[in-house]
Amino acid sequence: MIALLPYIFYCFLIGFHQIILKNITSISGVEINLPVIIVLLVAIYKDEIVSIWFGFFAGIVLTVSAPEQMAWQGLFLSALSYLVFHLKERMNLESVYSRTSLIACGVLLHNMFSLLLLQSDSFWSLLVSFALPGTVYSALIGSIYFLGKDGKLSINKLKEIF
């Protein structure tokens, strides 16, 4: 049970993002896809079984506002976690750039999948105006996380700059 606590916390983080953080951090409608970032980070740093189940539950928590998409999102995020885990096994993810690229690709795939679920006529315009900028925004946040995790970005280093 104690081992599940971090994942329960991540689910609460997803809920917090969906209700409060998403509107605060959005810039002209472009949002950070924090749930997918969390799912991909779990896929990168944890084992396979954990990541695919967490991806499934994260998809369910994510779609509270659209319950009809619950199964789709759960399945997609589970599959995404599965894919990322295997890519991680076969790729060199030492550098921040490679991990950021992985995050960017995962977010872009999820954004495109969400637009397909919407079945909107203006798929391409939404892709260009929201999905792609959202991917860049999310990748930026992901890169900041990786820089911090690797110790390349810290308060002391920022103080040295200034």
């Binding site: 695919i52 189940w53 369910i60 928590v61 509270v64 199964a71 759960g74």
Partner: protein, 263 residues
């Protein structure tokens, strides 16, 4: 048979993913009868607490904005109330002035004080009427209570009035009860005094003092003040009479200039 026991560990990930796929298919198949309770549970656990927080924050922001608006309205209302109170006081003063009648052969030019000059007490005031309104030098200036001073300098649209508090301004005055005459003068230390009244005069505290008209500038009959103190010093042929002015020279706002209408 050992391959059977090793099967789950070898294909563990596929079994797990297959389970997830099966659950998803069930959710697709049964529709809202299963997904709705799941949705409700997930919403209650992972979303509802944050919904409450967000609602409270939004209410707080709305209340804060309302408070700011109400404070602005309150400040504006306070300013308006002050202005209205001032207007009411001016209304009362002007009504009193309307009841005032000028002497025969004289008319009144109503003016407003726009500036004052003087250190401890105003001795000169600037009014908003001048030569174009018929103001001339040495015209008497009064308000609804009594004599205030005389016109000293005249411009086209303004004029300067020398008040009775100016040490250079002397008024020929008369005590109404005893009919004794004297000269009104003002000193910053002693205040307003009536001089050159003989010691044998029957003047007493409370007697009113008016302008006598004998000085050549001020007309007769304008109220100047009341006697507040009478001193008779040995070997002095004159009384020392202190006068309490009828006009409050610290708060004059509207004035009348006495203008002669007939030559």
């Amino acid at each position: 048979m050992s391959w059977l026991s090793s099967l789950p560990s070898k294909y563990a990930k596929n079994i797990h993913f297959g389970t997830i796929l099966l659950i998803a298919i069930v959710l697709f198949g049964v529709g809202s009868s299963v997904s709705t309770p799941i949705h409700n549970v997930v919403y209650t656990v992972f979303h509802y607490p944050f919904v409450i927080i967000r609602t409270n924050i939004e209410e707080l922001l709305v209340l804060s904005e309302k408070e700011r608006q109400l404070t602005e309205i309150l400040v504006e209302s306070s300013v308006k109330i002050s202005q209205m109170e001032e207007a009411q006081k001016e209304n009362i003063r002007l009504r009193e002035m309307l009841e005032f009648q000028p002497p025969a052969n004289y008319s009144l030019i109503a003016t407003k004080v726009v500036a004052t000059a003087g250190e401890k007490l105003a001795i000169l005031v600037t009014i908003n009427k001048g030569a174009e309104s018929g103001v001339e030098i040495n015209q008497s200036v009064i308000n609804q209570y009594g004599l205030v001073g005389k016109v000293n300098i005249v411009n086209s649209n303004s004029a300067i009035v020398e008040l009775l508090t100016s040490q250079a301004n002397r008024v020929a005055a008369r005590i109404t009860s005893s009919r004794d005459m004297g000269i009104i003068k003002y000193d910053f230390d002693e205040g307003m005094t009536l001089e050159y009244v003989p010691v044998q005069s029957k003047v007493a505290s409370g007697d009113t003092v008016i302008s006598s008209g004998l000085g050549g500038i001020y007309q007769e009959g304008f109220l100047i003040g009341t006697v507040s103190e009478v001193k008779r010093i040995k070997d002095d042929p004159f009384c020392t009479i202190k006068i309490e002015p009828i006009v409050n020279f610290n708060s004059i706002e509207e004035l009348f200039i006495i203008k002669k209408t007939t030559p």
